[in-house]
Amino acid sequence: MIGDLLINVGAVSLLAIFAFWILRTRYLVGVVVVSGAFSLTAAALFVVLDAVDVAFTEAAVGAGIATVLGLATLTFVPHFEKPHRFKGAALGISWFPALLAVATGLLLTLAVSDLPRFGSADAPIHNHVAPHYINESPNEIGIPNIVTAILASYRGYDTLGEVIVIFTAALAVLVLLVGRTRSRRDKQRKGRRQ
């Protein structure tokens, strides 16, 4: 229990360091790679929190595919973020966004006291449909992995909807990237030459 707690604290602290790194560095290749490390650390945290399926998916999809997509994008765009300050920014902090983030964080913190204690077995989330899934899925579905049983059977329509979302996103990406037209800058340059 204490060991789990230490791993948990360590992983979340590491995540905070990565998030700060992402915020501060201007080299975008570094930003994308550290975001991959962020996802991988989150995957390790999911293993400690008993979510092995989520950990697999986060490591493969979140840390793998998302990082590759980011690096592929960076082959088309500049690798450095240009320094820019919002109006009223001082000491390297943009105060209006900072204020917004702190205010949102404070509101969320106020709501936390209503949540059940971390790890408590009598939290409402554990006493609704979850016991049915855990107790009945061996008889009703017959798959040892309860997460798979819910994903593919009890909530199969959710998964169907997910597939539709991915299909739509894939179509949109194809529409955006395949058969690219000449850019506006080329046209302008051509216009200037004439």
Partner: protein
């Protein structure tokens, strides 16, 4: 006072998640570079996943894969299923965002917010 401490300590995971979430949120709104915005969004998103998965954990629980031990406590599988869907959908939206960034760069020659705004103002003035 002791129960207050217990209350705070029992929620430390959520407090840390809120901190991470706000770091991602700040990256998203305070940085003008679009690739960095996407990465900030990813940080925000992953923090929300951690919040959900934390809710499913029970003290001394094991992963929700059936074992022969009749006394085993299984973690709540429902948030795991929801987050599995969310991770995959999140990557789909990330891919779409990156595709848009590539197109924006081809058209305008920049992926910085403020330069795009300048570009559009110039265009309005010339019209």
């Amino acid at each position: 006072m002791m129960s207050d401490m217990g209350q705070v300590f029992g929620h430390w995971n959520v407090y840390l998640v809120i901190f991470l979430m706000m770091l991602g949120f700040y990256t998203l709104i305070a940085r003008g570079n679009m690739v960095k915005k996407m990465v900030g969004l990813n940080v925000f998103q992953t923090s929300v996943f951690i919040l959900y998965i934390s809710m499913g954990k029970i003290d001394n629980s094991t992963a929700p894969i059936l074992t022969d031990n009749p006394l085993a406590i299984y973690a709540n599988p429902l948030p795991h299923v929801l987050i599995l869907t969310a991770i995959v959908v999140g990557v789909a939206t990330t891919a779409l965002g990156y595709a848009l960034i590539i197109r924006i760069y081809e058209n305008f020659g920049t992926i910085e917010d403020h330069e795009l705004v300048d570009f559009m103002e110039d265009e309005e003035n010339t019209l």
